[in-house]
Symmetry: C2
Subunit: 343 residues, 2 copies
């Protein structure tokens, strides 16, 4: 709204009716005679009138907008989740305000600011400190946690991480007999990764082995490359690598390929997310598929219900994931399967 020039009053004066009538025409409610409606609509068109969000929001006491705060990392995963969220919001005639923290610490103020522009917000992953989330709760901002560990009395939507990562790690350990297996990712960087690391450890315990080394890096392709250089600098390559997500795995794949290391003959590899590129590299990446889009849409649904006050007992929705076996783990093309559903 550039200048916000025209108001109901001007439309009313021009048409010779009261502002109440104009308001009724604009919103299509109440009773207005066809000819009056017609005249008002003409005046609206001529003057280019658009109702001010200010006035409307003030009296309606709501913004008709949802917020989502996410780490702001590039990559198809985040993009997909947000699309799912938006799609659901749009059908409920709500706008979506996106805020990417870029993993910066000083973003608390900005989050609070966003809270004053929306009717409720979704908080994705470990983007915000628990104190910050608590502040939001104290201010009675309706929130739902997305891909984050639940907090008391807050609805949560996430995917099953531990069991599926345990399964895929067990696949490497027992089906293929690999040893040692490294984990690349930062378990303290996101709740999802925390759980995946836990699954990785659980698999090793289950077969009575010590978990392999943890290479603690970020979430992007470049981090995967960096991890490999770290590993090589430190000594030998492991027999297999479990990556916290596909982006890292893509970086690892590129780095290993660049150095002539053969996957999976020398080093086997798995990812997480099943992004489009996963099936396009050679060998195709064994990974875990999560319902990314549904994650977003479920979150939006819950948030909308929360705002309406329809949520009695805040649920902790855990969506199922699926281990996808391709070739990077060492399976042959024929053996590859899209089966094992976790949770």
């Amino acid at each position: 709204m550039g200048k916000q020039n025209t108001t109901v009053h001007e439309v009313a004066k021009r048409t010779g009716v009261s502002i109440a009538t104009v308001s009724r025409v604009v919103r299509g409610v109440g009773q207005v005679s066809p000819e009056t409606r017609q005249r008002v609509q003409e005046a609206i068109a001529e003057l280019g009138y658009r109702p001010s969000r200010f006035g409307r929001a003030l009296v309606e006491r709501r913004h008709s907008a949802l917020g989502i705060v996410f780490p702001g990392l590039a990559g198809p995963y985040y993009s997909e989740v947000i699309q799912g969220f938006e799609a659901e919001a749009v059908t409920a005639r709500q706008s979506v305000l996106i805020f990417g923290t870029h993993l910066l610490e000083q973003s608390e103020d900005q989050v609070l600011d966003m809270a004053s522009r929306v009717d409720g917000m979704a908080i994705m992953g470990g983007t915000l400190s628990n104190e910050c989330v608590q502040t939001l709760i104290d201010q009675e901002v309706p929130i739902v946690l997305l891909a984050r560990h639940p907090m008391p009395n807050v609805p949560t939507v996430r995917v099953e991480n531990t069991q599926s990562t345990r399964d895929i790690t067990l696949h490497l350990l027992t089906t293929h007999g690999y040893d040692p297996i490294y984990f690349i990712g930062n378990p303290t960087g996101s709740p999802d990764t925390t759980d995946r690391w836990e699954g990785f450890v659980a698999a090793h315990r289950q077969v009575g082995r010590e978990p392999g080394a943890l290479i603690r890096v970020g979430f992007q392709q470049a981090d995967g490359v960096w991890a490999i250089s770290q590993i090589l600098e430190a000594g030998e390559l492991p027999r297999a690598i479990v990556c916290a997500n596909d982006e890292i795995a893509l970086g690892v794949h590129a780095a290993l390929t660049a150095r002539g290391v053969r996957i999976p003959e020398q080093v086997a590899l798995t990812g997480w997310d099943d992004i489009p590129m996963a099936r396009l590299i050679a060998p195709a990446l064994s990974t875990v598929c999560q319902p990314t889009r549904e994650l977003g849409s479920q979150t939006a649904k819950l948030l909308l219900a929360r705002i309406k006050g329809e949520l009695d007992e805040p649920p902790d929705v855990v969506l199922p994931t699926e281990v996808i076996i391709r070739q990077s783990c060492g399976c042959t093309h024929e053996a590859a399967t899209n089966g094992q559903r976790s949770f």
Copy 2:
């Protein structure tokens, strides 16, 4: 703001002062005796009062927020631009509302909606139809175009595309003598790509040759993979490939490597953007570096000036780019240079 319970009135009543005084304390302007200030601040803390955006925005007639609409594609380029934009906005104490169109057509309504929540907006690339932009202009929404061809009377920020793409193409054509050279990307998909394709064609004309084939695909890694399968299906590989961006080049790189095609011995390759992964693949990617972050920050600066009405003649800012020669074009490590600045 969940319930937006407390108002100035309650704080005022509790403290025994008028709402004007409360307002003065909150905003830190005007004269208030230290002890009154103290009492008011205590009441504010106790009641957890936070001023309502509604009321404030209504009387101040501004949102204190900037909007940015972008394609919503995954990848570090967009992420960087937005970070630059946000950084600048934050220093001007403005919030940023992000809207990703996801290249969907039906987004006009949502853009208009966003326009009613911000004081001005940046429009990135070919995300919006010209009609839609014109609607915004007609509604006197302050806008600035980002990585898009200028429109009359609208400030624009973009980077130099044509000349640098011509330069890097000429490098392949003359320094290396490659022929034929293909172009992978969609010239109608974004204004940047339009200009890059133009530079590609210009280079060929300049040496009296016909431009090689255009493989029209999207902007992501998967599109690069797909392009290679298309090319192979159609017949021979070209001697070199110019990609519209680094993401595509990464996909092409992965696809060629997977098929055992040697880069640059059999097929040389260049990208655009100089994303972090560009230098990390083997051979390192020759590309064009653009000041991504500055693109975002300049845009925000211009937008802020535009909103304040400080912009007399809307400028068309074109930021310089730089050809980065690494090894994927066929240069040896020694020959690699970070020199040739375009524009």
